[in-house]
């Protein structure tokens, strides 16, 4: 379909800036986008009949990755590890 109707995973890499231009980037728009993303993740992996630990574990793994990236600037400095 046209660019503004496609979902993120259907957009080609070269078209990404143009696609971003068609998105609603106001605070309500961003919040709506976040809510849609969370709902699709929740309904696909957690809100299922026989869910397992995988749905929650992916969230926790993502949280660990996020914390790592938040701390990267500090962890990459090798000088703070040397203590002997």
């Amino acid at each position: 379909g046209p660019l503004w109707q496609r979902r993120l995973l259907d957009v080609q890499l070269a078209e990404l800036p143009a696609w971003l231009g068609t998105r609603d980037l106001s605070p309500q728009g961003l919040l709506g986008g976040v809510q849609k993303a969370w709902n699709s993740y929740y309904n696909k992996y957690i809100n299922v009949k026989r869910g397992g630990p995988a749905g929650l574990s992916m969230l926790l793994a993502g949280y660990c990755l996020l914390s790592y990236s938040w701390n990267y600037q500090h962890i990459s400095k090798i000088s703070f590890l040397v203590s002997f």
Binding site: I46, V48, G51, L60, Y63, C64, S67, S69, N71, S83
Partner: protein
């Protein structure tokens, strides 16, 4: 002597955005709202079972008036439990290691219980300052002691949580540093230290859960005296 072992308790910032904000909002994602189905998904079922369990435990000793505190006590319990347990994952930041946060939780809630008691039943709450059956000569000293014990409660609540979690995290970091340092020099000692580290991690999981429970339990006890 550098302070590298305490760096894990520094609130991390990325381009001015503190991680503590995300660390405190993330637990909300792990407890989705049930929706209006009769049979829900497994996560929601587990969550409902757990909330029933702690609500029953905390609110059985309280009277009808105390049940108004159900929401704040159970949500506090869930928040502390989740924050403490999430802090045991690698690279994560535990907000409850910050004394400021724990005091901000403990002080207003304790003050609320105190003011509820003093407002609704002042003589009964002040009566708690003197245990039954004390010998008459001891009364002045005991009142002073009980008042001090009353006023130190918020400090104790906050510092208990902070100290337990900080000490646990610090121990984990120290022992893992020892393990990696000994790996090249004496592998057998390093193996023993790894076993200690595993046991310590199990202890830390238990401590995380127990400390959250103790915090909320003590608050409910202070409430019982005053409501």
């Amino acid at each position: 002597m550098n302070l590298s072992f305490f760096d894990q308790f520094m609130s991390p910032h990325l381009m001015g955005i503190p991680l503590i904000l995300i660390s405190m909002l993330f637990p909300a994602l792990l407890f989705p709202t049930p929706g209006n189905r009769w049979i829900t998904n497994r996560l929601t079922t587990l969550q409902s079972w757990f909330l029933h369990l702690i609500t029953k435990q905390l609110l059985t000793p309280l009277n009808k008036n105390g049940h108004k505190w159900a929401l704040i006590l159970t949500s506090l319990m869930t928040l502390l439990l989740t924050i403490n347990l999430l802090g045991l994952l690698p690279y994560t930041f535990t907000p409850t290691t910050q004394l400021s946060m724990n005091m901000a939780l403990a002080f207003p809630l304790w003050l609320a219980t105190l003011l509820t008691g003093l407002r609704n039943q002042p003589s009964a709450s002040l009566g708690h300052l003197l245990p039954e059956g004390t010998p008459t000569p001891l009364i002045p000293a005991l009142i002073m002691i009980e008042t001090t014990s009353l006023l130190i409660r918020p400090l104790a609540l906050g510092v208990r949580l902070t100290a337990n979690l900080t000490a646990g995290h610090l121990l984990i970091q120290l022992i893992s540093t020892a393990t990696t340092a000994l790996l090249t020099i004496m592998p057998t000692i390093s193996f023993l230290t790894t076993i200690i580290l595993l046991l310590l991690t199990i202890l830390e999981v238990a401590v995380a859960m127990i400390q959250a429970y103790v915090f909320v339990l003590l608050l409910s006890l202070y409430l019982q005296e005053n409501i």
